[in-house]
């Protein structure tokens, strides 16, 4: 068993972060120069952390698999970023943002971490504006806000439909400044292959240059991983093609516990799947739910006729439309949280009301007719023009004239490596930031909170907390990468690569990945049961065995080899997928994005079981063929009233 | 300003300024030429204007400036083009489709420039060199002896193939100007989304006036 001491500071909830900062150890400026930090990933968390740490005087090395740090997948976030600024004078506050987040996460996150997130949220907006992020503005020149699912205030800042892009370009510009100053060394097209552990501490990484195939290692007094989520375990997701769970999976195998792997967010508004050849799912921003109304026909024969192309959506009279979110959740209507909206869509489609003509008949309408009638096409164009254009490019349909078709898709993983209050994993010296850790979103993430968390971790949390660790490390001499420990780590990576190459099978990596994705979606997806989860575990084991006997990787190791890159990631996904199913099986309750069919209220809502499951499930690796050990961090809510999530009435 | 003129924008600035100077020169030249049509029989007005342009002290200063303008425009045109070819890289696209993304003229400014330059040489040999160094016909206007430039020009304009070369030269110049005019302002930074269209229209009006103005004269002499 490992020690899951969260190191929550003393004091009242609102004073913890201040107390922490006032009492933590700091590193003096002349000693910072002696300390090296490795950052994996250049999304919002990684780029902002690397830039901030370098500004403070640390020597930073930053790695990403993309050809430029700016291409990390944070760039694709559309809708916005939350912050408790209360610029709209609608009663927002740090407490309210904290409360919405912890409630939205179904009370499966750590109180103190979430409060700190809400506390630093306002600074993120200040920082980003100072960098030149062109947020949307009012005519008077002040910042504009929009509202997002699951909350009753407008606290979301946005830059048209490309907020993630603009925030990432801001963090990337800070990173560039430090690269130019020589404080950050950047390694694009370089993938982390393993964490190097020396005397029980993370002391570096082994990486592979994706162009030359060269395996090398780098020393760091500490390592921070901000490699994002593992949604691609489902093959089809809104993640980028290269997004992967390998960095955190390798860290897990080196001793970092993996927390709540089953907590996956299925986003309600993506474009439905259209064929087997499909490579990814495209998200349509949640902000669309501000003005779009979601519906399916309320007659089965109408749904059938639409699927067959015999009827158009416009042929269905208003009375024959089932605005099921407005019907079921009158207080929040189309703006219920993501997990609720996603499940409701699945419920309708399972009953046969789906409108998309695909194999699974899965799709619902998101209709802007009503908003256009009310506000005029021009206003809608201003608000969502680029999203509408993107939709039309992909589907060939014009959403001004006909409703969009949408369906839930895997989007975000709330689970990730376990971290304490300092964002340190159970492997000393290894820090986990952004989507890669588990800490802030519990069982469900609210819209516009991912960007907030990534930047909070990178700009305002890690740069403080990592000092508490490094304060007594400055006299630790840099360990040569020629040392035995590093060479051994490199050799084990090379052996792993050779093992993959030597399979010389007949089946492509993608087809294994697709098969895994299908198991995950069908059995570890939106509606889970003990039976299906057990089947999934067995099926994944069989698939994993087949993978290691029959995967085809052509080409060489000492050059670009995309199939090898993918195989390395899929090999990890096969193991991670099994852990996800195991975690989902263990959690005998429904909460947030984790929905066990056995645990629902008579009305079909999620049934949480606080008495037994109010804990973080932190899995500990024990060996390749051995079962992982479950460790539990009990969640204590000192200052928060724990309620049943209810989006039917405005409470 | 260190290194300014060797920067890509600095070089383009020189092309832009020299080009605008030449654009003004063309208007003055056109003004003088058009006087041929005022009295197309003996050309007294034109000869007076040409004499004024040839003897006036301001023009003595302007002449080398004009030469400098041509020189800089051509020199930098070549320098920039050579660098741009280099920047394109050694391997070429097998298929390039730019018919919808840019005008033919804008992509072929160097070749239009070369063509106009060739025409300029012919032009200098036919007129400027004759007037400066040769033995042009002379005439008396108001008791003053001066070159009979009118006769020199109008005689040539009565040859049909000469007119053809002359007109083709101006069409090439017109295509060059069609892109050059607004482009000069763009390079100077005197452009934005609103003025782009306006400058293009002003440029096209200017181009039409210059091309039509210059070509109408030989046509007149050919026809009448």
């Amino acid at each position: 068993m490992i020690n899951l001491d969260a190191k929550i500071p003393q004091g009242k909830l609102a004073e913890k972060w201040t107390n922490y900062k006032e009492n933590q150890k700091l590193v003096s400026p002349n000693n910072k120069r002696k300390l090296d930090i490795i950052v994996i990933g250049t999304g919002l968390a990684g780029a902002s952390a690397a830039a901030s740490l370098a500004e403070m005087g640390f020597n930073v090395k930053v790695f990403c698999y993309q050809d430029s740090p700016r291409r990390a997948h944070s760039i694709a976030a559309q809708g916005g970023i939350n912050a408790a600024k209360n610029y709209q004078n609608d009663g927002d506050s740090t407490y309210r943002l904290y409360y919405d987040t912890i409630k939205g996460g179904d009370y499966r996150s750590r109180e103190s971490n979430v409060f700190r997130l809400a506390e630093v949220s306002a600074n993120i907006i200040d920082q980003s504006v100072a960098q030149g992020v062109p947020f949307g503005r009012e005519y008077g020149g002040t910042l504009a806000n929009r509202s997002f699912g699951g909350v009753l205030v407008s606290r979301t800042f946005y830059a048209r439909g490309a907020t993630g892009q603009q925030l990432l370009l801001g963090a990337y510009s800070g990173l560039n400044r430090q690269i130019a100053l020589g404080k950050v060394e950047s390694f694009p097209r370089t993938e982390m292959m393993d964490v190097v552990v020396i005397d029980g501490r993370a002391r570096g990484v082994v990486v592979r240059n994706l162009i030359t195939g060269k395996v090398s290692s780098h020393f760091g007094h500490a390592v921070a991983i901000g490699s994002g989520g593992y949604g691609n375990v489902f093959f089809l997701s809104t993640n980028a093609m290269g997004s992967n769970g390998s960095a955190i999976w390798k860290a897990y195998k080196k001793g970092a516990a993996f927390a709540n792997p089953a907590f996956v967010q299925i986003h309600p508004t993506a474009i439905p799947q259209h064929g087997d050849y499909q490579s990814k799912l495209t998200l349509m921003s949640e902000s669309l739910r501000n003005d779009g109304r979601i519906w399916v026909p309320n007659k089965l024969e109408d749904a059938e006729a639409i699927r067959l192309g015999q009827k158009k959506p416009a042929d269905i009279a208003d009375d024959d439309r089932d605005f099921y979110l407005e019907r079921r959740y009158p207080a929040f209507g189309n703006l219920v949280p993501r997990d609720v909206a996603a499940r409701a869509a699945k419920e309708r489609c399972d009953k046969g009301y789906g409108i998309e003509n695909n194999a699974t008949k899965e799709g619902v309408f998101l209709d802007f007719k009503y908003a256009i009638d009310r506000l005029g096409q021009k206003t809608i164009e201003e608000r969502y023009g680029n999203l509408f254009q993107m939709y039309e490019k992909i589907t060939g349909d014009n959403p001004y004239e006909t409703p969009m078709k949408i369906y839930p898709a895997v989007h975000y993983t709330m689970g990730g490596l376990w971290v304490d209050y300092e964002l340190q994993s159970t492997l000393p010296g290894l820090f986990i930031i952004g989507e890669a850790n588990f800490s802030d979103h519990g069982a469900n993430r609210l819209g516009a909170s991912a960007l907030m968390q990534g930047l909070a971790d990178g700009y305002f949390v890690l740069p403080y907390t990592i000092q508490n660790y490094l304060a007594d490390q400055f006299d630790v001499k840099r360990i040569s990468t020629d040392s035995d420990e590093f060479k051994a780590a490199e050799n084990s990576v090379k052996a792993h690569i050779n093992r993959l190459m030597n399979v010389k099978g007949k089946k492509s990596v993608d087809s294994f990945h697709r098969d895994l994705g299908k198991i995950m979606w069908d059995k570890v997806g939106m509606a889970r049961t003990a039976t299906k989860l057990k089947e999934a575990i067995e099926e994944i084991k069989i698939l994993k065995k087949e993978f290691w006997e029959n995967v085809e990787i052509p080409g060489d190791t000492n050059t670009i080899n995309v199939e090898l890159e993918k195989a390395n990631r899929v090999a990890d996904f096969l193991e991670l997928g099994e852990l996800m199913a195991r975690d989902a099986l263990n959690r005998e309750e429904s909460c947030g994005g984790h929905y066990r069919e056995e645990y629902q209220t008579p009305e079909g809502e999620a049934l949480r079981r606080d008495d037994e499951f109010m804990y973080v499930a932190a899995w500990e690796y024990t060996g390749d063929e051995k079962e992982p050990i479950l460790n539990k961090e009990k969640l204590v809510f000192e200052e928060t009233e724990v309620k049943v999530r209810n989006y039917k009435t405005a409470k | 300003m260190k290194g300014f003129l060797s920067s890509s924008i600095g070089k383009k600035l020189l092309m832009s300024l020299s080009g605008l100077f030449l654009i003004v020169f063309l208007l003055v030249h056109l003004g003088v030429n058009l006087t041929m049509l005022f009295d197309p029989i003996d050309g007294t007005v034109y000869n007076k204007a040409a004499n004024f342009m040839g003897t006036n002290p301001i023009m003595k200063v302007m002449e080398p400036l004009l030469a400098l303008g041509f020189f800089l425009h051509i020199l930098y045109g070549i320098i920039v083009q050579l660098n741009n070819w280099k920047a394109r890289g050694s391997s070429k696209y097998a298929v390039v489709d730019q018919k919808d993304s840019s005008t033919w003229a804008s992509r072929n400014m160097i070749w239009l420039g070369v063509f106009v330059f060739t025409f300029l040489i012919v032009h200098i040999i036919n007129y400027y060199a004759v007037l400066k160094f040769g033995q042009p016909p002379s005439t008396h206007v108001d008791g003053v002896e001066m070159h009979n430039t009118f006769k020199l020009v109008s005689d040539l304009f009565e040859i049909w193939w000469y007119d053809l070369i002359y007109i083709i030269g101006f069409i090439a110049l017109g295509l060059h100007l069609h892109h050059a005019f607004w482009s000069a302002f763009q390079t100077l930074g005197l452009n934005n989304k609103i003025w782009r269209r306006r400058l293009e229209i002003i440029g096209d009006i200017y181009t039409i006036v210059v091309v039509a103005g210059f070509t109408i004269i030989p046509l007149y002499f050919l026809i009448f």
């Binding site: 030149g132 603009q166 060939g396 | 260190k2 920039v80 489709d97």
Partner: protein, 252 residues
């Protein structure tokens, strides 16, 4: 939408490495659904090549939703192919007809050397950014975000410039291999905003000097870049860059 299947012929540039001369290989693809994206068609081709024991085609791609800027490809003579305001990953097969021959080439420019097949090295764009594409503000030193009101139109215009995804289509398209649209967008985005004005002069000078140094060409205002730009970044930002640069040098 009426989706059907089409048969196409592909002429794809294959190049083993930076020093290989490269060549075109021909492939035939049958029964391609027109609802598929162009890159999904490439995936199918690669899957087919794998099945035949051949090496798949290398190309850059990542987000597949038109924002990361990784995908490139010069398709039938146009950057990102025969559609406006899209990246290659957003291009769909319904833009092609049954029986079409599609020529696929890598971005070509001196500053974008080919790494392999359709994959090119665009790190030069990062180097330009590193030269000055930022506001020098340290984490934690920012004033309240609303302390500096910015006119809505200015913020919108800054966004128009900031929309650039750094894909390099402008360079690939430009007959001069120039990165002026990229630099223009970056310089304008920050020059328009009050927080970026302080360093505007040095920024324009440093970024342009870096662009020149890296072997990009100069702008001759053909405007092809803005037509091929997936984010429709306007060449009015090149005019702004020219202006910023001239003013910067006049002040020196």
């Amino acid at each position: 939408m009426s989706d059907k299947n089409i048969n196409i012929k592909l002429k794809v540039w294959r190049q083993n490495g930076p020093n290989d001369a490269g060549r075109f290989d021909n492939y035939e693809m049958n029964e391609i659904p027109t609802a598929a994206s162009f890159l999904e068609m490439m995936d199918m081709l690669n899957e087919k090549l794998l099945g035949e024991g051949k090496e798949p085609i290398s190309f850059d791609h990542d987000c597949r939703e038109g924002i990361c800027g990784a995908c490139s490809m010069f398709i039938n003579g146009r950057a990102h192919g025969p559609d406006n305001a899209v990246t290659t990953c957003q291009l769909h097969m319904r833009k092609f007809k049954d029986g079409d021959t599609i020529t696929i080439e890598p971005w070509r420019a001196k500053a974008f050397p080919v790494i392999k097949d359709l994959m090119v090295d665009r790190y030069s764009l990062d180097l330009i950014q590193q030269a000055g594409g930022y506001v020098s503000v340290n984490t934690g030193s920012a004033p309240d975000a609303n302390s500096m009101p910015i006119h809505k139109d200015i913020a919108e215009e800054a966004f128009d410039a900031a929309a650039c995804i750094g894909c390099g289509a402008c360079v690939a398209t430009c007959k001069n291999g120039s990165a002026m649209l990229f630099v223009g967008a970056k310089v304008s985005h920050l020059a328009l905003l009050p927080q970026g004005k302080i360093e505007a002069k040095e920024r324009a000078q440093k970024m342009l000097a870096k662009m020149d140094e890296l072997g990009f060409g100069s702008c001759s205002n053909t405007g092809a870049c803005e037509v091929e730009c997936p984010k429709e970044v306007s060449i009015s930002f090149i005019a702004r860059l020219n202006r910023e640069y001239l003013v910067a040098n006049l002040k020196d």
